[in-house]
């Protein structure tokens, strides 16, 4: 699916939507089922790894909303991730487990508030300038955590007790059990995808896509684009906050580096690698980025060579990211070179000109 192309033919669109929905259901079912296979003690690690990958997927999804749908290429997205993680660490009681729901609310509020303030300022700039100003603000956040003693300075700080998630009546979730935590993250991912899908099919989402392609025209049509963009920016920050919160409770350790530009850069790479303008792309990007690095590093100590090579090959062969792999395989590479100038900057969505081709 690719909501960048607001569906063309109703009929085809409905089929595509169905196929997409089915794809997500299957993917989530597989993810939910995996722990049932990974039961051995030594498999615990893989459960945790998958949890972490899903957290990164949430993070990438939150950025996809900005990059892929709103055209706001932020290189400071780690700031909101880190803000939530730090908020979690600082709100968590020292003496015993905290209430997870309360911490979650605190973390999300903190990251959304930060995104609101930063967004209100950075949205004055565009393009590469926007990239760099978001980076600048993220670096400021980084240095605040790094150079002041609010939360352990450069050493970072610990969450000594994993929070509990009381469900009315009982304590269904105890995240000390990696399995429970896994499902908590799973739930987070499902919720994120669902919310984003809803947002993107709404008028708000369509307006964002319009703004991404031509902001001037949207203003001429009567959209107060600044408010839309700010809304998207805060939503992106909020979801990044969800990822940051989950990260903090998974590892119980936060360090300024999670706010560094490397972290922001990684999220951006996941989005691009997977495919700009596609939710599945963000998830795919996160999974492949983390898991491949994982795998390559078991092969050789020069694993980054493999990673670099993989990325280069992916860019060369899959201009629309990993999500386009199936369609590229299907259509062969016949039209890879066809993209005639005039069709714009290559910002074309993942299913280019399928209608003209059918014509």
């Amino acid at each position: 699916m690719n909501p960048t192309t607001l569906p063309a033919r109703r009929h085809a669109a409905r089929n595509a939507t169905l196929a997409t929905a089915l794809g997500w259901v299957v993917a989530f079912a597989v993810l939910a089922g995996l722990p049932l296979l990974l039961t051995a003690d030594s498999h615990k690690f893989y459960i945790e790894l998958l949890s972490k990958v899903m957290i990164m997927a949430i993070f990438a999804l939150s950025l996809q909303l900005l990059i892929g749908y709103t055209g706001l290429v932020s290189l400071g997205h780690a700031a909101y991730f880190a803000m939530a993680a730090y908020a979690t660490a600082m709100l968590a009681p020292q003496s015993g487990p905290g209430n997870g729901w309360v911490l979650l609310a605190g973390a999300l509020a903190a990251s959304a508030a930060l995104a609101l303030v930063v967004g209100a300022l950075v949205l004055r700039t565009r393009g590469v300038y926007f990239i760099m100003v978001t980076l600048a603000f993220a670096q400021m956040v980084y240095f605040v955590f790094h150079d002041t003693k609010v939360a352990g300075g450069s050493d970072g700080t610990y969450i000594y007790f994993r929070p509990e998630f009381p469900v009315p009546g009982e304590h269904l979730l105890t995240v000390n059990d990696p399995m429970h935590f896994y499902w908590l993250v799973w739930l987070g991912l499902v919720a994120t995808v669902a919310v984003l899908m809803l947002v993107l099919r709404s008028r708000f989402g369509h307006a964002l896509v319009g703004i991404r392609h031509n902001e001037q025209r949207m203003r001429a049509a009567g959209y107060a684009t600044y408010r839309y963009q700010l809304g998207a920016f805060v939503a992106g920050g909020l979801l990044a906050g969800l990822a940051g919160f989950l990260y903090a409770i998974q590892f119980g350790f936060v360090n300024p580096e999670i706010a560094s530009w490397h972290q922001s850069g990684n999220a951006m790479l996941m989005v691009i690698l997977g495919g700009v303008g596609s939710l599945a792309g963000a998830v795919l990007g996160a999974f492949s980025f983390v898991l491949l690095a994982e795998w390559f590093s078991t092969l050789t100590k020069h694993w980054q060579l493999l990673m670099g090579g993989f990325i280069i090959v992916a860019v060369a062969l899959l201009p629309r990211g990993l999500v386009s792999l199936p369609s590229v395989l299907r259509h062969g590479r016949r039209r890879r070179r066809n993209g005639d100038a005039g069709s714009g900057t290559g910002e074309a969505p993942a299913e280019p000109r399928s209608h003209t081709e059918a014509a």
Binding site: D41, S42, N255, E257
Partner: protein, 378 residues
């Protein structure tokens, strides 16, 4: 050199199988050379024991920590949970170390720190399963403070990277130096790993101190020493530092480093037989000169051996294992050392002077210096 030994599919190792050692070290990035040296040292000792410790063979697992603290907990988890190692050996970078300590404590996995000096690891975060064969950041600084205090210097400026290793090093220095009646008149710093020193060098010169004390390492150390000399201050204001300033960097520093004095727990030109053999073997095995990092790796293996031998290879007898390790006397190339209550080496600190390509020992700055282990409740 030691080739990559990688994770076998994790399966519950049968008792009496191999001891699983997990290296969590930087194999890429700025500290890659240090990570390699540590691994080399470790492997060499094991080799010398015929590949066995406590009667059991050793199986290695490796994770590249990339010196990235953000990935530290996850990477450490890899070794602990996926590979289910008996002992984690790592790492170089203090920030990453904090993450490893956290994971080790949570899982009660044996951890041997072969470099990172972050004071907390053997301070507030100390634990029965956490050991260090290197130093605490406080230590080399303290030793230098002692030396300069005894030399009767009064007015000293400090200069460092603003992060754990630098700040703690300066703290140690200040403690000793001011106890001896000196005064640190100004503490200058710049963000890690910034290497634009010129402004600060000028600032130091304008303060006209009796001496400066610095902490820098690796590429930054090379550049600092060269900039210092180029600014014409080398013969005007004496420059002192903790040993990392001139370790593994002399080739690059060239003339600019000649005559510099530093304090560290290791030096060139030590006279003990242990060191002579170590150096010969190392040079033979790896076609490289060993450095302090190799020594620390070597000693990490020795410390593990001490424990493994005591429990006859049964790594599940944790209490006995830790007890034996805590009480071990390590016959290190640096000279014999024991461990403090908090499991940090109680060791001699040498005053060294750069001579050609060597950090020649000139004297023992402080004998059997123990980290105060503030905040440790062991």
């Amino acid at each position: 050199s030691a080739s990559a030994q990688t994770a076998a599919p994790a399966a519950g190792a049968p008792a009496g199988g191999k001891i699983k050692v997990g290296f969590m070290l930087p194999y890429t990035g700025t500290y890659a050379a240090l990570g390699n040296a540590i691994e080399n040292g470790f492997r060499m000792y094991v080799q010398q024991q015929g590949g066995k410790l406590g009667g059991r063979e050793i199986e290695y697992f490796k994770v590249d920590d990339e010196s990235d603290p953000a990935k530290a907990p996850e990477n450490a988890t890899k070794l602990v949970k996926r590979d289910q190692v008996d002992v984690v050996v790592g790492t170089v970078h203090s920030g990453v170390q904090m993450g490893i300590v956290k994971v080790a404590k949570e899982n009660n996995t044996l951890l041997i720190i072969p470099n990172a000096g972050v004071d907390e690891a053997t301070g507030p975060l100390c634990g029965p399963n956490i050991f260090r064969t290197s130093f605490s950041n406080w230590q080399p600084g303290y030793a230098m403070g002692q030396v300069l205090g005894e030399r009767g210097l009064k007015k000293v400026v400090t200069l460092t990277w603003k992060y754990a290793a630098g700040e703690q090093s300066v703290k140690g220095f200040k403690e000793a130096f001011e106890a001896k009646g000196g005064k640190v008149v100004k503490e200058l710093s710049l963000p890690f790993p910034n290497v634009e020193f010129q402004a600060l060098i000028t600032e130091v010169a304008s303060l006209k101190p009796d001496a400066v004390f610095v902490f820098f390492a690796g590429g930054g150390a090379v550049k600092f020493v060269k900039d210092w000399a180029a600014a014409g201050l080398k013969d005007k204001i004496p420059l002192y530092g903790s040993g990392f300033l001139t370790d593994g960097t002399l080739e690059a520093q060239g003339n600019a480093a000649q005559g510099l004095e530093t304090t560290l727990h290791y030096a060139d030109g030590l006279t003990n037989a242990r060191d002579k053999n170590f150096r010969l073997d190392y040079a033979k095995t790896y076609k490289l000169q060993p450095d302090v990092y190799a020594v620390q790796g070597y000693d990490a293996a020795q410390l593990l051996a001490a424990g493994a031998t005591a429990v006859k290879g049964d790594m599940t007898r944790k209490a006995d294992l830790y007890k034996a390790m805590g009480g071990a006397r390590i016959d290190s190339p640096r000279g014999t050392f024991t461990l403090s209550k908090a499991h940090n080496p109680v060791q001699d600190f040498y005053l060294r002077k750069v001579d050609g390509r060597e950090n020649k020992v000139s004297s023992v700055a402080v004998k059997a210096l123990a980290d105060p282990a503030r905040g440790c409740r062991l």
